[in-house]
Amino acid sequence: MPEAGRETGNRGMLAVDPPHLSWSSSPMDVFAPTGNLYAGAIWPEVVVTLTLLLVLVVDLVGGSAARKSLPALSIFGLIGALVTLVLQWQQPQLESFLGSFAADPISILFRGLVVGTAVLTVMMAERYIAQSGAPTGEFYVLLLTATLGGMFLSGATDLILVFVSLETLGIASYLMAGYTKRDPRSSEAALKYLLIGASSTAIFLYGMSLLYGLSGGQTKLEAIASSMGDAGLAGIIALVLCIGGIGFKLAAVPFHQWTPDVYEGSPTPVVAFLSVGSKAAGFALAVRFLATVFPAMTEEWRAVLSVLAILTMILGNVVAIAQTRLKRLLAYSSIGQAGFVLIGLVAGTEAGYASLIFYLMVYLVMNLGAFLCVTLFSLKTGTDEISEYSGLYQKDPFLTLCLSICLLSLGGLPPLAGFFGKLYLFWAGWQAGAYTLVLVGLVTSVISIYYYVRVVKTIVVKEPQEMSVSVQNYPETNWQAEGMQALRVGLVLTLVATIFAGILSNPLFTLSTQAVEQSPFLGFPTAQAFIPQSARLQVAVKGSLGSSAQTGEG
């Protein structure tokens, strides 16, 4: 690890003064051998792309037997991408494709989050698709495309790549939302998602065009930053437009209107991907875009984001109380969770960013676990009304255990993973002086405990006569059916991770802290030069204590 760190440090110095500046004045030299693309930075994306093409070809030419292997093929490819990401962690590529893409530690972690979500989504989807009778191949192709878009978005450092990867993610998501096209609710969800998504992209693009003009014709995020200091009103307008576009991906209030509808109408595995993978990519974009382009306007964007965070936490958690369907409840709860994560972004300290990443990791397992349970229950009973869950404890103790643990973890009860995630977030926010945000966060997480526990209480109700009709007719679980094994593996994985990620949170937290330190664009001092492990820990502690001093530099 020390060697890797030293290399990172050197590359960090290089990134400050890129070696290719000499030829950037003459466009004809772009294809000269001197301009190294460092194409190794996108190995994980290449693996995903090859998997995507393979799935497409197998689906086209293979018979029905070959089609059964598509989920396994997708999972295999995605795990391959995860492996290349782990290898990349040893040797982060801070700048590639002439400064359009960065494979720095933060982008590696976020890409890992997107790929991890995709793996669990495939596990969830296999049975769902087999039972719904929809065509198989397209789903995996679309899912892998969306994953690809999310991965590129996590590392994009150029306006054009940000836009193209945002749309790759977006268009694939619209199509996935309308996947069960015979279901009017699904196509309605797709239409609403597409219209709101496309208009928010247009707004974001308008902001980008202003940034392009204000910076005198720059599209690299770093190059834009230098001219934002004296941009005045136009800079503020560009900032607001960009936050509007990013807020849509984060489903932050008031850009959240699409969320409940899309989550309710879309197939459950798609919802799971949107609520974790798409959101993680959105946070990657938010961190990189705001920290790189607007360092001169840090006060302004933090003020805007704290208002958004407060609204998001309050609305998401309060409206969730009134929901009667579990999918819709999870939709509102995921809005509320995004509000909590925003605290880390507003704090803007090293600990803030690290706790943001840590919370997203935890959120991945617990939220996907909850969605796995919802998928399994709705596959067996055909409903997701909360009242239909009553008495499930007597018929399916395993499902009850998984769902209860995931929901309680989402609510933030110790000693589950969600508790530690929230603890770190609130602690980082408090250190950075965001007192109002943390207080609102505390109050709303108490509210959230209420509605999560209400669901758990419905499930473990004791008396047999209180059982709902669906639970009375609850079929035996046939684990041998197509796709059920994958679902079971997913359930066990998320259950184990939710229980143990909290107690064993230190390695994960160290991982996210390292990522924040070694990503030069965030500008924390240890990113510039390598410091031995012990000294770095001290700096980390000092950094979090004297965070208010750093906030100004941000």
Partner: protein, 102 residues
């Protein structure tokens, strides 16, 4: 002599017309057309800036080619979804899409 401001004003007006159409249209196709208007306003902005402040590298022109391409893909997907919903519901009136409450 045309100035940069003229182009920006036209683009801003076009963008506002797009937003207006987005809010008041009841026909789903019209909403899609409004979004195209907004994207064209963005293109106009990029072309104007590209000519006036970045005439050597013309990155703005490159950007608008990307915007046009992606907008075409988006419109294709949008029309496909509208077609799908028309088959299900025999209408494309936005007001009637209320199976999911806003």
């Amino acid at each position: 002599m045309l100035q940069l401001q003229f182009f920006l004003v036209v683009a801003a007006v076009l963008f506002c017309i797009g937003i207006y159409g987005l809010i008041v249209s009841r026909n789903a196709i019209r909403v899609l057309m409004s979004i195209e208007l907004m994207l064209n306003a963005v293109n106009l902005n990029f072309m104007a800036f590209s000519n006036f402040v970045d005439s050597a590298m013309i990155r703005g022109q490159v950007f608008s080619v990307f915007v046009i391409t992606v907008a075409a893909a988006e419109a294709a997907v949008g029309l496909a979804i509208v077609l799908g919903i028309y088959r299900n519901r025999a209408t494309i009136d936005m007001e009637s899409f209320n199976l999911l409450k806003w």
